[in-house]
């Protein structure tokens, strides 16, 4: 038995998405820029896909740009806002400490160019308040970029309220909605969003395809030069099979948001309640304002990679924010941002449930994680020190 509980990393493509892309590989394979019939058929498909995606977010088709994924969309949104800002002498950007690296690294690049970046604190629950955003906005602020929902700990930000604050102060607002799109209702106008990034493979679409929504009033800066595609704002022949599958996957995900949440939330909460019973553990992220499928815990006295390997042996695919799984010496910047110290951040586990998860699987995961944590603690010198009073518990 395999339980795939790493849907925040990527999802399995839905049959709808696979079916949507197939005709555009062997039959309608033309280049949308070609004048002949085969090319124009592809162009019609592209136009239709753009309309369908726009409909999912309540925007105009011309405000949808297809990219290679969420990272490219994040890069383009931030760089575009920075270029607009610097023309007006505004070189201050506000973001948070627990953004995806596609955002953080782009901001670091801009800092080297002389931009000033403020990273807001995200508190222990992983949520930024609109008041804090308002207080951080300065006369020279050109952009606020805050993720819709965190990829590791699942906390959902008050996006409409943050957008409102930005608009009141005349500042552009971008949100990295990679984890939220297709899982939470998003209407860019109602929610005061100027730019939004998403990645298709997070909602059962294909990898290598993403979307940047940018209000038509925002002049975009190219990340990829090379042609007239995407209104000249992104060179490269359009990935038609991927785009068709993206539109199909997004429509399907958006149509089922309420149904999926109604199924997932009780199972997520059962899993949280089950893991909460493990002594000296803590839930990461907000209990209520949380993605329907996200569960993230820290367990004291153990290390995450060995936890993942033993869960894999039991058929459970999960992930961790431990340094050993990140390839760096530091554990996840997200866990450090919510105040977890290194000692416990190394012992983190993320289970991100898929819509097809069952109650039996949740019961199995609770039992498996409980067993593996107890086993690893039994061989941990840190755990022995904690138990025998030579070391103070960090997690009560």
């Amino acid at each position: 038995m395999t339980i795939y509980a790493d849907n925040a990393a990527t999802t399995r493509m839905s049959q709808t998405a696979i079916n949507a892309m197939l005709p555009y590989m062997g039959e309608i394979y033309g280049n949308p820029s070609s004048l002949h019939t085969v090319g124009q058929k592809a162009n019609e498909a592209l136009t239709e896909a753009r309309e369908r995606v726009a409909k999912c977010f309540g925007c105009e088709p011309r405000e949808i740009l297809f990219t290679s994924g969420g990272s490219e969309a994040d890069n383009q949104a931030i760089v575009s806002a920075a270029r607009i800002g610097e023309k007006k002498g505004k070189k201050h950007i506000i973001s948070t400490a627990f953004e995806h690296h596609a955002v953080l690294h782009t901001l670091a690049k801009l800092e080297k160019e002389g931009f000033d970046v403020t990273l807001l604190d995200v508190h222990e629950n992983g949520i930024v308040t609109p008041e804090e955003v308002a207080a951080a906005i300065r006369p020279d602020t050109c952009l606020v970029t805050i993720m819709y929902a965190n990829n590791e700990i699942g906390s959902i930000q008050p996006i409409p309220e943050i957008g409102k604050v930005c608009h009141e102060k005349g500042v552009l607002f971008h949100t990295d909605a990679v984890q939220a799109a297709g899982h939470i209702h998003i209407d860019v106008n109602e929610q005061n969003i100027d730019m939004l990034s998403l990645s298709a493979h997070k909602f059962h679409g294909p990898k290598g395809t993403g979307v940047l929504f940018a209000k038509k009033s925002i002049p975009l800066t190219n990340i990829i030069e090379g042609g007239a595609q995407e209104r000249g704002k992104r060179g490269g022949t359009e990935n038609i099979p991927g785009i068709m599958a993206t539109a199909a996957a997004l429509e399907e995900a958006c149509a089922n948001i309420d149904k999926n949440a109604a199924h997932l939330i009780p199972l997520r909460d059962k899993l949280i309640a089950g893991l909460d019973k493990i002594p000296h553990s803590i839930l990461n992220g907000d209990r209520v304002n949380r993605l329907p499928g996200n569960v993230n815990f820290c367990f004291e006295g153990i290390e995450g990679e060995s936890l993942l390997l033993l869960l894999d042996d039991k058929g459970i695919c999960a992930s961790s924010g431990s340094a050993c799984t990140s390839g760096s010496l530091d554990p996840s910047h997200v866990l450090l941002a919510i105040g977890r110290v290194h000692d416990v951040a190394h012992g983190s586990l993320r289970l991100s449930l898929g819509e097809d998860v069952t109650e039996e699987q949740v019961d199995y995961m609770i039992a498996a994680v409980t067993d593996v944590v107890a086993y690893l603690r039994s061989m941990s010198p840190v755990w022995r020190d904690l138990q025998e009073g030579r070391r103070e518990y960090i997690l009560k």
Binding site: I302, E303, L309, C324, P381, W383
Partner: protein
């Protein structure tokens, strides 16, 4: 290719010599929780300077656990003089290699063994000095 060799996975899944030696006469602990790896080695050395028994406890990733397990196997039943020669390279080789970013786990295993041997030698010296004192 998988991240780890079959040998690493075998020693990770079925670690040899896990636990505590209540009558250990050499104990070594290295690493820290900041970096995410701690190894503790317990040695029982007999009068003939042979490592009669060895146990370990490890907080760490798969390769840290496998490295500790292999290191204990390599020195069990060996004379202290031979154990002092144990290198991280020998541990890694016995595991059919470790990924480059996991080599520090074998270094930690070598250091833990050396720390336990040093503790044993210090204790022995202290005992000897204790006898000669008036």
């Amino acid at each position: 290719m998988a991240l780890y060799s079959d040998k690493v996975m075998d020693h990770f899944r079925n670690p040899r010599n896990v636990g505590v030696l209540e009558d250990a006469n050499g104990i070594g602990e290295v690493g820290n929780t900041m970096c995410g790896d701690i190894m503790k080695i317990y040695l029982k050395v007999n009068d003939d300077e042979i490592i009669e028994d060895v146990k370990f406890e490890t907080f760490g990733c798969g390769s840290a656990i496998a490295s500790s397990s292999m290191a204990t196997e390599l020195i069990k039943g060996k004379p202290v003089s031979e154990a002092l020669e144990l290198t991280n390279k020998a541990v890694a080789e016995a595991l059919d290699g470790l990924p480059a970013h996991k080599m520090h786990c074998s270094v930690l295993a070598e250091e833990a063994i050396q720390a336990a041997l040093e503790d044993y030698q210090n204790k022995k010296l202290a005992a000897k000095q204790g006898v000669t004192q008036p």
